[in-house]
């Protein structure tokens, strides 16, 4: 079924083109555009990395990057000897991983299930509705969530009516509820939006494959398993690989808006730490140092993930 794709992959991996003048001439159009793109990328994405110097300085905007006092690894040492920073890394990682898994699974599930809706108009309407929350700001979404989970909110009403609890559960007072709440909020806001990409990938699946499966007597579940999922597998893998590198970007606003003193130990992320101990203190180095740490971890993670993908013969990032 996915033979077409497999074949492409083989071609790809087998093709080891030697760099010869003839080949260069042949690929001159590609090379020309690549050169432009590399120059562009160098200027806009790599040149600002010179700012990483700030992490090794007592950076003062007044003195600029070249005249600020050098302090070597001081800021890194300070970060990693701070218990709070270690705790914050734990929180970020935990929320990053939970969010990644939950939002990922939900988006794929939703895309596949939506695709199974036969009536085209219903499908369109549901899809349009599903991505609307993406356009609401976190402050609105968290506001509604707070409302729903409050002592007199709908969730507690339901729990009480089902006799599951006697007193209202104070969801925001217990650290153990915080991560699931954040995960739910992410799913709520982004599932429909994240599903768009899978829906577009599903459209690329050859309908004849479904027909063939139907002739083999496959039911809808079997079709999903043998046609749809393999059809969007490469998209899934690519997005998974990309997002693995993003687990340390678990967010800022949502935790900031949902958190409070009682759940502080689990709610603070690296970004919140940077705001509190770096930016708000006029200490740019802390933020940059934390940023470098995040970049290194991200790149390590994707290199590993990419290797795994390569070993199992899947689509890769590079």
């Amino acid at each position: 079924m996915s033979g077409r794709r497999k074949k492409t992959k083989q071609v790809e991996t087998e093709m080891k083109v030697k760099i010869t003048w003839k080949e260069i001439k042949r690929q001159k159009v590609l090379l020309f555009w690549s050169a432009i793109i590399v120059i562009y990328g160098f200027i806009f994405c790599y040149l600002p990395l010179g700012g990483w110097l700030m992490a090794f300085q007592n950076y003062k905007p007044a003195k600029g990057l070249f005249h600020s006092e050098f302090v070597g690894m001081d800021k890194f040492i300070r970060l990693f000897s701070d218990e709070t920073f270690i705790r914050v890394i734990r929180n970020t990682l935990a929320m990053g991983v939970i969010n990644l898994v939950v939002t990922f699974v939900m988006a794929i599930l939703f895309a596949i299930l939506l695709n199974e809706i036969r009536q085209r108009r219903t499908k369109k309407v549901i899809q349009t509705i599903s991505y609307l929350p993406h356009f609401l700001s976190w402050i609105i979404v968290t506001g509604i969530l707070h409302d729903a989970l409050s002592g007199s909110g709908i969730v507690n009403e339901i729990l009480k009516n089902l006799n599951l609890t006697e007193h209202s559960v104070d969801f925001f007072a217990h650290p153990s509820y915080f991560w699931p709440i954040v995960a739910f909020a992410n799913v709520w806001k982004e599932t429909g939006w994240n599903a768009i990409i899978y829906l577009s990938a599903i459209t690329a699946i050859d309908p004849s494959l479904y027909e063939a499966a139907a002739i083999d007597g496959a039911g809808r579940l079997a079709k999903i398993k043998h046609v749809t999922l393999p059809g969007i597998k490469s998209t899934i893998i690519i997005l998974l690989l990309m997002n693995v590198g993003n687990v340390l970007n678990a967010g800022f606003e949502i935790q900031y808006l949902l958190g409070n003193g009682l759940v502080k130990s689990v709610s603070e992320t690296i970004d919140i730490y940077v705001l509190k101990w770096g930016i708000s203190q006029g200490d740019y180095a802390i933020g940059t140092a934390a940023g470098i740490f995040k970049s290194i971890v991200s790149i390590l993670l994707i290199v590993i993930a990419n290797q795994v993908a390569k070993r199992s013969g899947e689509e890769r990032l590079y």
């Binding site: 707070h146 007072a173 009682l262």
Partner: protein
């Protein structure tokens, strides 16, 4: 295909609609704001345009704002103001410095020291004497207190400066507030201590668990969201009869700083909250509610009492209570002069101005005409322009009787509070220097909020009745006024700006974090003593002594400076 047409139509309609409504507001963004000068006005008189950036949240006014136009015609200057959006002050100032391009005027907030370091500000010392209204704004001593390490004055603090007799009616500060219905029910008793306050709330709640419409009352709630947790943490300084120094208590006799977090009063206060929490008097959602939820609770009239700053709830919840007619049930709030024991003079309200020397309006080196810029500041402080800024246009925004007294009708009052009207008509130049107190005409207040008659007319009936019962006319009289504290005041103008660069600053930031995390736990703890001990253990690890030492140094410095003028 037809559906497609409809969609296209809708889209066009939407765009056109926004175009039309936008145009109704005037010539939109057609004015070349990027340029420094543009000629405006029908008479061909050239109006100089300055830019200003304020590193603080604020609301922008329209380009064609009416009063701004009037001021421009009178002074020949118009200032395009921009406010902080989605960034912290330090970050915004940091990028502006990195770019090296400044607006003409700037208020750096907590980023101000960075601006001085970068040499971005014009030293004002040599100019001040040339502008009488600016010169008059501060005393010689106050001006000197603004000098930075290099001996120059770079900014003019804009607020809390009193001209003539002080005219405060509102208590725009912190207090224990209580609904008038609670006081009325108990026949307006004298409430002087914290224990009496909670006793009263308890008794009222026992007798009236519900409101008239059946909603349950919430006896006492505490706002604890982010920086707004001052509602929980800083009461001990007031309970001991000290003014709001913000971060420490200053003993006026010995001139030593005292940590209010560890005083016996602090223990008693949190113990009381702990008891009340377990009695069900303190709202169980206190520590998890957001600001919006807190305001919603207050607005529904259910909350009998809380501690908060007036500005933090009065303009939102206070207005909502009024518009829902809940003031008729006695749901408006009045402050009570509470201390820990009877016999302590409270200092919830202090008279006199406060110079927050840590930041203010500055002129930058990018300004090509410093003299014109300062002339404008001078003009803004003249009585005529000042009235325009804070009262508005005579006849439209306020009336003047034969005695020269200003007053506003209800309609004028409501309109002046309207967001859209404020943007299109009012122009307070709110982050430029301004006066409080009495107008130079000796009749009116500098702004409507200080006008006694104006204030009394705007008062809700239940509050009037309550005031009458206590023989008070204003919120301030409910609390009583104390003399301005000593020359050190306010210490927060220093602690607000310290950073983790110093040991003291490090300790201060850590203390804040620990208090934020532990104080709710202390209040909720089953065993108060144990909870308090855990808190203290964590608190001591922050090295509060470093912070106190730094504050003591600053206090000594301030007193030394002040001694030069005695």
């Amino acid at each position: 295909m037809r559906r497609k047409h409809i969609k296209t139509l809708m889209l066009t309609a939407l765009m056109t609609a926004s175009l039309i409504t936008g145009c109704g507001g005037g010539d939109g963004g057609s004015g070349g704001d990027g340029k420094k000068t543009s000629s405006g006005g029908d008479d061909g008189k050239s109006i100089k345009e300055f830019t200003a950036f304020f590193a603080t949240p604020g609301s922008e006014i329209n380009d064609d704002n009416e009063i701004q136009q009037i001021i421009a015609e009178k002074t020949g200057v118009k200032v395009k103001e921009t406010w902080l959006t989605g960034q912290t002050a330090e970050e915004a100032i940091g990028t502006i410095i990195a770019g090296g391009e400044y607006p003409d005027f700037i208020e750096g907030g907590s980023g101000s020291p960075q601006l001085v370091d970068a040499g971005a500000l014009v030293a004002l010392d040599d100019y001040i004497d040339k502008y009488p209204n600016i010169k008059e704004f501060f005393t010689e001593q106050e001006w000197d207190s603004l000098r930075q390490e290099d001996g120059h004055i770079y900014w003019i603090p804009q607020f809390s400066n009193i001209y003539g007799e002080e005219k405060a009616c509102e208590h725009n500060d912190e207090a224990f507030w209580i609904q008038t219905r609670v006081l009325k029910w108990a026949d307006y008793p004298e409430i002087k201590t914290m224990d009496q306050y909670f006793d009263l709330i308890e008794k009222y709640y026992e007798a009236n668990p519900k409101m008239e419409d059946g909603t349950e009352n919430i006896p006492y709630t505490i706002l604890c969201e982010d920086w707004r947790y001052f509602c929980l943490e800083n009461a001990p300084q007031f309970l001991d009869g000290y003014p709001n120094d913000g971060s420490v208590i200053v003993d006026p006799e010995t001139l030593k700083v005292i940590d209010y977090n560890t005083t016996p009063t602090a223990v008693r206060y949190f113990k009381k909250l702990n008891e009340e929490y377990h009695k069900g008097i303190v709202d169980r959602e206190s520590f998890t509610q957001t600001y919006d939820e807190y305001i919603a609770k207050l607005s529904s009239g259910r909350v009998l009492g809380m501690i908060d700053q007036w500005w933090d709830f009065a303009y939102t919840a206070g207005d909502a209570i009024k518009s829902a007619g809940l003031d008729k049930q006695g749901c408006s709030y009045v402050p009570l002069p509470i201390t820990i024991e009877e016999g302590i003079t409270n200092q919830w309200h202090n008279s006199g101005g406060v110079v927050n020397a840590s930041s203010g309006l500055a002129v930058t080196t990018s300004c090509d005409d410093v003299e014109a810029a300062l002339q404008f500041v001078d003009d803004l402080l003249s009585q005529e322009i000042h009235d325009l800024r804070f009262w508005g246009v005579e006849g439209t925004d306020y009336n003047k009787n034969e005695k020269g007294e200003f007053s506003r009708t209800d309609e004028m009052r409501t309109r002046c509070a309207d967001t859209a009207y404020k943007a299109s008509h009012m122009c307070t130049y709110s982050y430029f220097p301004q006066w409080g107190g009495t107008s130079r005409d000796n009749i009116n207040a500098m702004s409507p909020s200080g006008q006694a008659s104006e204030f009394y007319d705007g008062l809700k009936d239940d509050v009037k009745e309550c005031f009458d019962a206590y023989g008070a006319k204003t919120y301030v009289e409910m609390l009583g006024t104390s003399e301005a504290p000593g020359a050190w005041y306010p210490m927060w103008s220093y602690s607000n700006n310290i950073t983790t660069n110093t040991d003291g600053g490090m300790a201060w930031t850590k203390m804040g974090e620990i208090k934020h995390e532990y104080l709710p736990k202390v209040v909720m703890a089953k065993d108060f003593e144990k909870g308090w001990d855990e808190y203290m253990e964590a608190y001591k690890k922050c090295k509060p002594e470093d912070f106190l030492a730094e504050m003591q140094t600053e206090l000594d410095r301030r007193m030394e400076e002040a001694a030069k003028y005695q």
